[in-house]
Amino acid sequence: MKKNAFQWTRKHLIGLRDLSREELEFILDTAEGFEEISTRSIKKAPPLRGKVVVNMFFEDSTRTRNSFTLAAGRLSADVIEFTKKSSAVNKGETLVDTARNLEAMGVDIVVIRHSAGGAPALLSRSINACVVNAGDGYHEHPTQALLDVYTIRQVRGRLDGLKIGIVGDIAHSRVARSNIYAMTKLGAEVTLIGPPTLMPPRVRDLPVRVSSRLDDVLEELDVINMLRIQFERMGGNPFPSVREYSHFFALTVERMKRAKPDITVMHPGPMNRGVEIESEVADGPNSVILKQVANGLAIRMAVLFLVNQAAMQTDVKS
């Protein structure tokens, strides 16, 4: 763990686009320090004792929500679960009002998952509590990308110079966006791979290469991150059939034969087995998919710990 004079000052984690390499590395280092807690017989540490964390989930999630709940619990925080299925269009109480009400009950950290891009940013402007983005629309999913780069660093030792491919629905993927920022800031070279109908506008203005042919770039990749095809989010039919998509873009046993033997295979879950990734590959020796999930816990502990610390420091100052 690096021992430098770096001081974490953000009381919100909305996205990774504005974070510096130093900040990213500081989160990863902090997470490393927290990993040990999960190996104890009593898996708890006291840094958030007396603090209240609310999980505000306006969209389905098991993995991320459970991971945040566990992470908060391991840091001894009290956790409120707030789940409400909602579309982006608000009919009842507004998001800001809901959050203000929770804040009035003494909530210190709001973890929010929302189908509307920008919802966490809106909250961070409207309430005093810390806001942690657990995924908003197709804007960002910072903790996912942090656990991704954490896993890569763990497995490969570094990101500098690595060639990483992100395959699939880039247009509607918050994971892809956060991944791009985290990976490129840490020195990796990112190639986005998918049909043009699943690429966002002006994608080439991002610090990436873009390809619509997986087979052309597969051989040079050190890491490949297979995104979930999100049928619920795409709208229209951006490709003719699952069969055709898989034919060109799925990570199959056949394709793995042409990849580097030590390629690291990732997936943010939940997987569509047989669509973007074949089961044999997902469960194979190159896969770090379950490691990603395990690392999510340490990353989320680190994030909750850091934003709370920053909030306490600003409170002391003011």
Binding site: N90, G137, H139
Partner: protein, 433 residues
């Protein structure tokens, strides 16, 4: 009726190619005399030395939300805002609730406008029943009731066969068909310009092609039907190209541009600030430049605010859920000055043309000029006044205005409609006792 004398101002009346220092005497709701050092007696005399005296400003595009959304704006509050902004005539859009798609609605808007007794209220009727883009609305009856044009503003007529029928039908009346050009199939659930920022913010984008394709389509229909056609709030460089070609072809096509499309880009959306959520969306710097160049070329017939008030509580929603629209009729004039005169794209006469006689021509009304005998709709402007826009002082009911805190130059001192003072700035104490 009192006689009013405004002395010593710089009278700019672009329709009559007047730009000189003169006195102007108003009596019986008309311009009675105009000339240097009039020796007329009047009930009230204002010293306008160093000020600009021009025909009352005309805004072809406002949403006063009545009927249906009176918590956001009423014709009374919107009219008060309009005269504070120097506008003596405005055109209300029909996308109210219910929409103005029959003559009774037109009459209602007119009646509320008369009651408000501030600005002169015109109204456009809907092109199709309930603005659904399917069946023709009663265009003829609304025309007879005084609707000065027709549009489904808020959205465009999607179906090309319906649009062709609408334009053919409307061509039997002396009226204008206006369109909010946007192809819904392309633009879908978009909330901002499709571009780098929408990608980074993860928001669904509105492809500029959506605007350009519909505009191009409509221009082809103009060739076929010959109806007068007005492209509302154009926002892209491509749209400017299409307008340029249509004008070169001498087609009866006109267009309007808003202050925000002349001043703001998609970069302002950066922090999900819903004040910048507007339809058509803020585009790129290249589009802003193309619109400004279009002004310089004379391709823009009218400057129009698209004043679109909304409740603060609605604008506090998620960017995806918040309504589209910018309110700002009260501060439009200095914004036009900032966008057009300050960078030297046009001069006062050129800018005022797009705020007076040229918009009047678009809607076919005899206004926007102040020769002797003309209706005394007059705006007095202090071109040098520097001030800070403060939305808390707005007469409008809404505050969804991104210009709060902007330092601007140029201020409306007085607005007269049919010879009556309907707005007098507290700053202006030029009345001679």
């Amino acid at each position: 009726m009192e006689k009013i004398l405004i002395t010593g101002g710089r009278v700019i009346d672009p329709a009559n190619q007047v730009d000189r220092q003169a006195d102007i005497l108003l009596a019986d709701g008309q311009v009675a005399q105009i000339g240097p050092r009039l020796s007329a007696s009047a009930d009230r005399t204002f010293d306008a030395t160093g000020k600009i005296v021009c025909p009352g400003l005309i805004d072809l595009h406002v949403h006063f939300r009545e009927p249906g959304d009176e918590e956001e704006e009423t014709i009374a509050s919107g009219s008060a805002a309009a005269v504070a902004g120097g506008f003596t005539s405005v055109v209300c859009m029909p996308n109210t609730n219910p929409p103005i798609d029959e003559a009774t609605g037109v009459e209602y808007i007119h009646r509320m406008g008369r009651q408000a007794r501030k600005t002169f209220i015109y109204v456009m009727g809907a092109l199709t029943k309930e603005r659904s883009g399917q069946e023709l609305a009663e265009i003829g009856l609304m025309h007879q009731a005084g609707a000065i044009g027709f549009t489904d503003d808020g959205s465009g007529v999607q179906n090309v066969a319906v649009m062709l029928r609408v334009m053919k039908y409307a061509s039997m009346f002396d009226t204008v068909v206006a369109q909010h050009c946007q192809d819904n199939a392309l633009v879908k659930n978009g909330v901002m310009n499709a571009g780098y920022n929408s990608t980074v913010l993860g928001l669904p984008g509105m492809d500029p092609l959506g605007e350009e394709l519909m505009l191009w389509r409509d221009v082809q229909l103009v060739k076929k039907t010959g109806v007068r056609y007005h492209a509302q709030h154009i926002s892209t460089a491509g749209a400017v190209e299409i307008i340029r070609q249509a004008k070169q072809d001498s087609l009866p096509v006109s267009c309007e541009v808003t202050p925000h499309h002349l001043l703001l880009t998609e970069d302002y959306v950066e922090d999900y600030d819903t004040c910048y959520k507007v339809n058509p969306p803020l585009r790129t710097a290249a589009d802003v430049q193309a619109l400004r160049d279009a002004v310089r070329e004379g391709l823009v017939d009218a400057l129009a605010t698209d004043h679109a008030p909304h409740l603060q509580s609605e604008k506090e929603l998620e960017f995806l859920a918040a309504p589209f629209g910018i309110a700002g009729i009260e501060c439009a004039l200095p914004l036009y000055i900032k966008a057009l005169i300050e960078p030297g794209l046009t001069d006062w006469a050129g800018m005022l043309s797009m705020l007076t006689w040229r918009p009047a021509q678009v809607i076919g009304v005899d206004k926007g000029r102040i020769g002797p005998g003309d209706r005394a709709d007059i705006t007095v402007i202090d071109p040098g006044a520097e001030w800070v826009i403060d939305t808390d002082t707005f007469y409008s009911k809404s505050r969804n205005c991104p210009y709060h805190g902007w330092k601007v130059k140029g201020r409306v001192l007085a607005t007269l409609v049919a010879g009556e003072i309907r707005y007098l700035s507290p700053e202006w104490t030029a009345e001679k006792q």
